[in-house]
């Protein structure tokens, strides 16, 4: 058959992660630091609630937007954490992970030719989702010297007459960067001035290690122009349950609901019942996991300092983003050699945008013992490369 495929779909670059995944999968005994999900099991009381809902036979669709009780709990949670109020009946939509919310959020607001500002390095989905929604992605390259935060100047410089939407991916995967209140206030002024929308992906909101996370929706005049995305995967270690949500202005949520209804019907029912329990009784679990991540973060920062590996201190998510420019290799080359020679898997920064070149994403969603083992091997590798360089210099 001629022209079997969508040109748009074909034009999308495959995810840079995929290639690396294939390499690692071939190696049985590789130690991985490449995982983008918590190492904790979902807390038992949450799993138990899911099991109980199955036992009771709650195996039917829920309403399209999600269980009423869950939407109410989401609103309570958002108010408790951020002091921002949403109407559970019209301003909340339960989705299949934060990922679905990104997709339908873009499709609900974009018209052909609309420009979408995407700060990178960042999660792999924003760019393809923008393209499939008819938008034109415009990349803002974040800089290590700003600790990978988005500055007002960078934003201002990227805005044109066609700019419709800014994606705000903080706390950030893969850099671990956060935006503090003053940073958000500065960019909010630019956003208001140019009257653009924001898609704020705050999936890692619970995992910050400096001050409590600040949502852009807390800043004056921002809630009415922001699609807030969050979910259960990272905070409650519930990745496999595939459950997220979007909160935002009613007119946008109405369109998102329509797309969700036609493509998905409703988010998984079992997961929704479990999520109610997570929001009602899960705060202590989150605090416990946050403490454990923070200990590992400190361990890694210290290990990199001792290795003299350049790295800014990340205060969010569970990633650390060291710079490897001194070794004269590309990120991909470095990651491939580290895997081949020491059997340690990390993800090249370029998997999250071209400006990730020269960096690696290292996940600390692993036990301290596992981290120690991997870091020891990484140190041996780095030493070898440095020695080799020295020899070359001498000869």
């Amino acid at each position: 058959m001629k022209d079997m495929l969508s040109k748009q779909a074909v034009s999308l670059k495959p995810s840079g992660i995929r290639k690396f995944f294939d390499l690692v999968s071939e190696m049985d005994d590789a130690i991985s630091l490449g995982v983008g999900e918590p190492d904790f099991d979902t807390p038992w009381h949450i799993r138990d609630e899911g099991i109980y809902s199955l036992e009771k036979g709650r195996t039917f669709y829920t309403s399209n937007a999600g269980l009423k009780e869950l939407k109410e709990e989401i609103c309570k949670y958002t108010e408790r954490k951020q002091g921002v109020k949403y109407d559970p009946a019209h301003e909340v939509l339960v989705t299949v992970g934060g990922s679905e919310a990104i997709d339908i959020g873009m499709r609900a607001v974009l018209n052909p030719g609309d420009e979408v500002l995407i700060p990178q390095p960042s999660f792999v989905s924003y760019e393809p989702c923008a393209i499939m929604a008819g938008g034109v992605p415009v990349i803002i390259e974040l800089k290590a010297e700003n600790e990978f935060r988005l500055t007002a100047k960078e934003l201002e410089d990227a805005i044109t007459d066609k700019t419709k939407l800014l994606v705000l991916p903080f706390p950030n995967n893969p850099t671990g960067a956060i935006m503090e209140r003053k940073d958000l206030e500065e960019i909010a002024a630019v956003i208001r001035k140019h009257d653009i929308l924001v898609m704020s992906d705050e999936i890692y909101a619970e995992l910050t290690y400096k001050e409590k996370h600040v949502s852009i929706t807390e800043i004056e005049g921002m809630q009415e122009r922001t699609i807030l995305i969050n979910g259960f995967s990272k905070a409650f270690a519930m990745t496999g349950w595939r459950l997220g949500y979007a909160c935002g202005p009613r007119p946008i949520l109405e369109q998102m609901l329509k797309l969700h209804q036609f493509a998905i019907m409703c988010a998984p029912t079992t997961s929704q019942y479990a999520a109610v329990e997570a929001l009602k009784n899960g705060d202590d679990d989150v605090a416990e996991m946050r403490t454990a991540y923070n200990q590992r973060r400190r361990y890694l920062m210290n290990a990199f300092r001792e290795m003299k590996l350049e790295c800014f201190e990340p205060f969010g998510a569970f990633y650390i983003f060291p710079c490897i420019k001194e070794f004269g290799m590309s990120s991909e080359e470095f990651a491939e050699r580290l895997l081949a020679e020491e059997k340690v898997a990390v993800v090249p920064g370029t998997a999250f945008g071209d400006c990730g070149e020269g960096f690696l994403r290292i996940s600390y969603a692993y036990s301290l013992d596992n981290l120690k083992l991997a870091i020891g091997k990484m140190e041996a590798f780095i030493e070898r490369v440095r020695q080799h360089e020295k020899k070359l210099e001498c000869s």
């Binding site: 999968s25 792999v124 590992r296 361990y299």
Partner: protein, 160 residues
């Protein structure tokens, strides 16, 4: 720092001091001082090792014994508890709310040794009204550690 420090060493008392300081984000000397203070205050009362004796060839039997007693005037349960906990084979004694008073755990070499202790020593104490002995058949989880199953990382090795 106190609560976080205690939580860490409750799980792993052999952790290296330098590493402990790093993961707490504190100076090593402050950690040393805090540990000393916790020991002096009797908050840290010992450093033990968790052993799964099942996996050795050494025979051990443990039991939990519910004990109902008559409290003594002016002494409450303290006196009788002391008489019980002084036996070295007794590993713990708790005063319990509910249907009985003391929960005694006991470790011995054999069933016979434990039943001998209960019938000869425990039941014959004057204020002991009754006992009920439960032998432990299998330990699934002890001190927060799951013994029955090893942790296995089943995640995909690389994910975005």
């Amino acid at each position: 720092m106190r609560e976080e420090l205690l939580t860490i060493i409750e799980r792993n008392s052999r952790i290296d001091l330098k590493e402990l300081a790093v993961i707490l984000g504190a100076e090593e000397i402050d950690v040393v001082n805090e540990l000393q203070a916790l020991e002096d205050e009797g908050i840290i009362c010992g450093y033990h090792t968790m052993i799964d004796w099942e996996k050795t060839s050494i025979e051990k039997v443990s039991a939990l014994i519910e004990v109902r007693v008559t409290p003594q005037r002016g002494q409450g349960f303290d006196n009788i508890a002391e008489r019980i906990y002084k036996y070295p084979e007794v590993t713990s004694v708790y005063l319990i709310s509910g249907g009985y008073d003391l929960l005694v755990s006991l470790e011995g070499k054999s069933l016979k040794e434990i039943s001998g202790f209960v019938s000869d020593k425990l039941s014959t104490l004057e204020s002991v009204l009754s006992t009920a002995t439960h032998f432990i058949l299998k330990k699934y989880k002890d001190h927060g550690t799951i013994l029955a199953k090893k942790y296995e990382d089943t995640r995909e090795k690389v994910t975005p």
